[in-house]
């Protein structure tokens, strides 16, 4: 990731004290969010893939794939899109599908690399939290 001027002092880690950082001295590199094993009916929504393709994938799972329920996950910016997909699915099914949304918080890891590679400047790691949504899209039981 490219450099972001870090104007505000950041709390580097719970263990280390807050360090005043020079805005140009550090490069922020975000690590990928932690992955967890994925079932077949889990759909992780991202911002890179085309929206229609992701929607079609969900529909395929529900109709052709024979799954009674699928789980749509979205993190950060993709929350909006996850909700959108879930609602679109529901609308296109004429009310046959039901939604159940859960939110959670995901811990993300950032690396801060010193721009000036001096012996003093140690690379740091910090954690930050981001919101996530998990929407269960399912056919309700017949009874």
């Amino acid at each position: 990731m490219s450099s972001i001027p870090l104007a505000a002092p950041l709390h580097a880690d719970s263990a280390s004290p807050a360090v005043e950082m020079d805005p140009v001295e550090y490069t922020l590199r975000k690590r990928l969010p932690r992955k967890l094993p994925k079932r077949r009916n889990d759909v992780y929504v991202n911002m890179k893939t085309d929206f229609r393709a992701q929607l079609a994938r969900c529909q395929k799972l529900l109709e052709g794939g024979g799954h009674r329920e699928i789980c749509v996950h979205g993190l950060g910016l993709a929350i909006n899109r996850a909700i959108n997909i879930a609602l679109q699915l529901q609308a296109s099914s004429q009310g046959a599908l039901q939604l159940a949304a859960n939110t959670s918080t995901v811990e993300l890891v950032d690396d801060l690399e010193p721009e000036d590679p001096d012996e003093a400047g140690e690379p740091m790691t910090r954690t930050r939290n981001n919101s996530a949504i998990h929407i269960k899209v399912f056919y309700p039981d017949p009874q």
Binding site: P37, V109, A120, G121
Partner: protein
């Protein structure tokens, strides 16, 4: 026509070679009674007169027959001649006998071209007939037998001439003889320990003094890519050279700081690397020559410091092609010129080596067996009882007396060449830690009985030491936590973990199984530990490994249990297939695990291709390789490393380092190879690069490019200067003028400067922002790093610093197309950019076909070859004509002398050597070339990596409107079609 008839005659001759051409009766005209005296002439030489003879014979034959078969002949000739009044019985019978004999001979004798099998109809032929004669029908067996014997005789004769003794296959494959043969074969090129494994499955190439696997023989390009991105790909990188430096920390750092610059990123002194927790990577320059004179990229690991000691140990891992440049440079920097000649050590039996010996620098043991076997080979025929030659471990090509250690009396630094001493395997992919965790097991403690008695092995000695065992327990704990991590990319980049493991052959599964992650909900304590590992990496003390110590390495190598012994022990196990219950004492190996960062640059696919490197003592290569392969990894060769770095967007060594000596050497090799390939085609079937306007399809003239772009910017500036002088001078103009006045001075002071590759991090970041970074296909612009267009003064400042630089860029195609090697990167015209706005067809513009002036010249040359005087007078005219057609030709090409010289070495379809202006040769101005291009499976579009001129890139960016900033054209050397692409500079 004459030739044709001659050929026909030849064919006929061959057909008739063994056929009796005529049955002659020399006295047929006048005295038929004596006809049988000379019955048959072998018609071997059938020439025109004999043909005539034959025809006359045929005419005459009925004469004789007419004697007793009367009146039934159709051709009137028989009647025309006079019928003999009487015939003598004896003469007639003899003549007939001669005829019959000739006929029989003709029938029995096969022509030479006709093999026995060819006499059989196709459906009766069998492949095995050639070696099993009983498969042939009975009637053919005799002849086949005869033929076979004849061929056998001939074959044995030939063999006797060429080879004195042909050993039987069985003898050749006997273990000792096989080893001798293998040792002989690796005298020239070093074999890795996995060579035999690779040679069975890979296309091998001889490169950099090694035999390396290039690509697998099976079709698995995509499976390998999939392994890299979802599971694990294994590579043997043992050919990388390790150079060990020992000495005081300050002195080492002072020496090494001359080789690097802080401007290009972290150096050897980076804090985390110095503590030994991380692996670092730097680009090394010649001492004190920072922006120019690159040597190449290296990685390095510091040994974690022991308490209070300032004596440090450093491993520098470098590509074999830069070792010859790097080693002298290191020696001069460290002032290490005294080579320590390895003393002749008596052959040490394995058990004698005690682990407590000081880590003094022992000579390499590898060359010894190689030398001893040479003398043995001569004797081997006499005394067969001698034990077979030892397997070569390490470098087999190095002679015994070559020094591997250099010491300095002034600084006390010791340089040690550890090439081929340490085996290095690379695992690429998100699941590589799972594979490692499944293959390796932390070494088990040995029981009390073994502890009590002194042992020649290293592990029991270690078990006695409490602190060492504590450390081992900590390391084992961390290694076990690795199993709870889902992806390798979650760990901090470059983490180092030391470990002692059990012999992995003991836990070899009976079947190949794919290692899969098993992430389970862990307890709170483990969770905490995992978080700690992810955030901080491995704690400082756990980076220690006994692999650093030469004595331990040698001990482990010498005491390895052989495969045979291990199998014997396995066969004695009570339950077949179960694990050997007390792990044999020799089965503990110190290893070092080094995390390799994945894709770090750019905005997407981050940490793609992350993995682990496994460092082992020599001799243990195959013992770890097979268990790793049994965990379902794919194995890749050199080709896959290239694709790995291409997907990561990093320059690959030595392909993408045109400014360092190894890179230049590589480019020359590549050029000759491509040129040879090109010349092998007939001229009519070659790509005509002259017509395509491609000046350098095989080798990119970077120096010329940089020089030309420097000239172009200078001219632009002068134009602007003249404009500005007419205007009233404003504040900015004065700044400009200052710049301009300073500019020529710089040019004068450095008349001969070589192009450099821009590696200054700050400048790269600036440039990256100006290019308006986008996602790979250019659909979305990144939210971060959006920098407004720089003002001209800033650009000018930038240019004064990097006027002769080229910069590493990634180009992603906006629509169709697959870029190839040495594709041109060009500046689009304004109408080309308009193509982009109407979405229906943004396929890109076309290059008009160029004219091939060399064709006519070559013709003239052919004509004028016998009258040289005329040729010399002709050439100036031609260049004149050429010059008028192509206004861009520089003065050098117009020079008649040089052009006439060049036309002597003219290759059809290629420009001769003094190239015209490379930038302005085509309808679009050239910015640079592509050094790696392919369809990228990770991005889903064509992607290319290459270099463009900094000056050219800046002037392009400045002239483009904001929405199209950073859009360039890409054209393959074999095509006339330009494709639109987006430039991204990733830092």
């Amino acid at each position: 026509m004459k030739k044709m008839s001659a050929a026909k005659v030849k064919i006929k001759e061959r057909k008739m070679r063994n056929q009796p051409s005529s049955v002659q009766f020399p006295s047929r005209e006048n005295n038929p009674r004596n006809g049988g005296d000379t019955p048959v002439t072998g018609g071997s030489g059938s020439n025109a007169p004999s043909d005539i003879q034959q025809s006359t014979e045929r005419q005459t034959k009925p004469q004789h027959r007419g004697g007793w078969v009367r009146g039934h002949q159709k051709d009137g000739g028989s009647y025309a001649k006079e019928i003999p009044k009487y015939i003598s019985g004896g003469g007639f019978a003899m003549a007939r006998a001669a005829e019959v004999r000739a006929m029989l001979k003709a029938v029995n004798k096969t022509t030479a071209s006709c093999h026995v099998f060819e006499a059989l109809p196709k459906h009766m032929r069998r492949r095995a007939m050639s070696h099993n004669i009983k498969r042939l029908p009975r009637r053919l067996r005799d002849t086949a037998n005869r033929l076979r014997e004849k061929s056998l005789q001939a074959g044995s004769k030939k063999k006797e001439q060429t080879k004195a003794k042909g050993k039987s296959r069985k003898a050749r494959r006997r273990h000792g003889n096989l080893l001798l043969e293998f040792n002989r074969r690796q005298r020239k090129n070093v074999w890795l320990e996995t060579h035999i494994w690779h040679a069975k499955r890979f296309h091998m190439v001889k490169k950099w003094g090694y035999c390396l696997g290039d690509r697998p023989t099976c079709k698995c390009y995509r499976p390998c890519y999939r392994a890299m991105s979802t599971h694990c790909l294994l590579q043997d990188l043992s050919y990388y050279c390790c150079i060990e430096l020992q000495g005081e920390e300050e002195k080492l750092l002072a020496a090494l700081s001359q080789l690097t610059s802080k401007q290009a990123g972290p150096t050897f002194a980076a804090a985390l690397c110095l503590s030994g927790q991380r692996q670092g990577s730097v680009v090394v320059y010649r001492a004190g020559q920072y922006p120019s004179q690159v040597l190449g990229p290296v990685t390095f690991i510091w040994k974690p410091c022991t308490h209070g000691s300032t004596h440090r140990q450093l491993w520098i891992w470098a590509h074999p092609s830069i070792k010859q440049d790097l080693l002298p440079e290191l020696q001069s920097v460290c002032q290490c010129c005294e080579a320590v000649v390895p003393p002749v050590v008596p052959v040490v039996t394995p058990a004698e080596v005690t682990p407590t010996t000081e880590p003094e620098l022992k000579p390499e043991k590898a060359p010894k067996p190689a030398q001893s076997h040479r003398t043995k080979r001569k004797r081997s025929c006499k005394d067969a009882c001698e034990p077979p030659a030892k397997k070569i471990l390490g470098d087999g090509t190095r002679s015994h007396s070559t020094p591997v250690t250099w010491r300095s009396s002034s600084t006390g630094i010791v340089i040690n060449d550890l090439t081929m001493e340490i085996v290095r395997y690379r695992l690429i992919g998100p699941q590589s830690h799972t594979v490692l965790a499944e293959t390796l097991e932390a070494a088990t403690d040995c029981n009390a009985l073994d502890k009590s008695q002194p042992s020649p092995l290293w592990w029991p000695e270690h078990c006695k030491d409490e602190s060492k065992m504590n450390l081992h327990k900590q390391q084992a704990d961390i290694f076990n936590i690795l199993k709870d991590i889902y992806s390798t990319g979650e760990l901090p980049a470059g983490t180092v973990l030391g470990l002692a493991v059990d012999d992995p052959r003991l836990t070899l599964p009976s079947k190949k199984v794919k290692a899969l992650p098993c992430v389970k909900q862990t307890e709170e304590v483990d969770e905490e530990k995992r978080r700690e590992l992810m955030l901080r990496g491995v704690p400082k003390n756990c980076c220690q490994s006994f692999l650093w110590e030469q004595s331990v390495r040698d001990n482990v190598t010498d005491n390895k249990i052989s495969e045979q012994e291990l199998n014997r022990m396995r066969s004695e196990v009570l339950v077949p297939g179960s694990r050997l219950s007390p792990t044999p004492l020799q089965g503990r190996v110190p290893v070092l695990l080094v995390h390799q960062p994945g894709k770090q640059v750019g905005h997407e696919m981050s940490s793609w291709g992350a993995g682990w490197d496994l460092l082992l003592p020599k001799g243990w290569g195959m013992a770890f390789w097979v268990p790793l392969v049994y965990r379902g990894v794919r194995v890749g060769g050199l080709n896959m490393s290239l694709k790995h770095s291409q997907n990561k967007g990093t320059p690959h060594f030595p392909h993408d380092y045109p400014d360092c000596p190894a890179g230049v050497r590589f480019q020359e090799e590549q050029e000759t190879e491509l040129l040879d390939n090109f010349k092998r085609r007939p001229p009519a079937k070659r790509t005509n690069y002259v017509k395509h306007g491609c000046l350098a399809p095989f080798c990119c003239p970077w120096q010329q490019l940089a020089e030309e772009w420097e000239l172009i910017t200078m001219e632009e500036r002068e134009e602007r200067k003249s404009e500005s002088q007419t205007e009233t001078t404003t504040h900015t103009d004065t700044v400009m003028e200052q710049e301009m006045t300073s500019q020529p001075n710089i040019g004068e002071t450095k008349p001969q400067s070589f192009f450099t590759v821009l590696r200054n991090r700050k400048s790269l970041k600036l440039l990256s922002g100006w290019c308006r970074p986008t996602t790979s296909k250019g659909q979305r612009f990144c939210r971060i790093g959006q920098v407004p267009l720089p003002d001209s003064s800033a650009v000018r400042l930038f240019l004064t610093e990097h006027r002769m630089s080229v910069v590493w860029v990634r180009l992603s195609l906006l629509s169709k197309g697959k870029p190839e090697l040495h594709a041109m990167v060009c500046v689009p015209l304004t109408e080309d950019l308009k193509l982009l706005s109407n979405k229906s067809d943004c396929s890109g513009p076309q290059e008009p076909l160029h004219k091939n002036h060399f064709k006519t010249r070559a013709k003239h040359k052919k004509k004028g070859s016998n009258k040289t005087a005329a040729a010399s007078s002709l050439s100036p005219e031609k260049t004149e004509a050429e010059g008028s057609a192509e206004p861009n030709l520089p003065v050098a090409a117009k020079d008649p002398k040089s052009s006439s010289e060049s036309s002597t070495g003219l290759i059809f379809g290629l420009w001769p050597d003094p190239l015209p202006s490379v930038t302005s040769h085509c309808s679009r101005v050239t910015l640079g070339w592509v050094t790696q291009g392919d369809f990228s499976l990770s991005a889903g579009c064509g992607e290319a990596l290459g270099f463009v001129s900094v000056a050219g890139l800046l002037s392009t960016i400045l002239s483009q409107p904001t929405e199209y900033r950073g859009i360039v054209l890409l054209r393959n050397p074999t095509s006339l079609h330009y494709r639109l692409a987006k430039i991204n500079i990733e830092v």
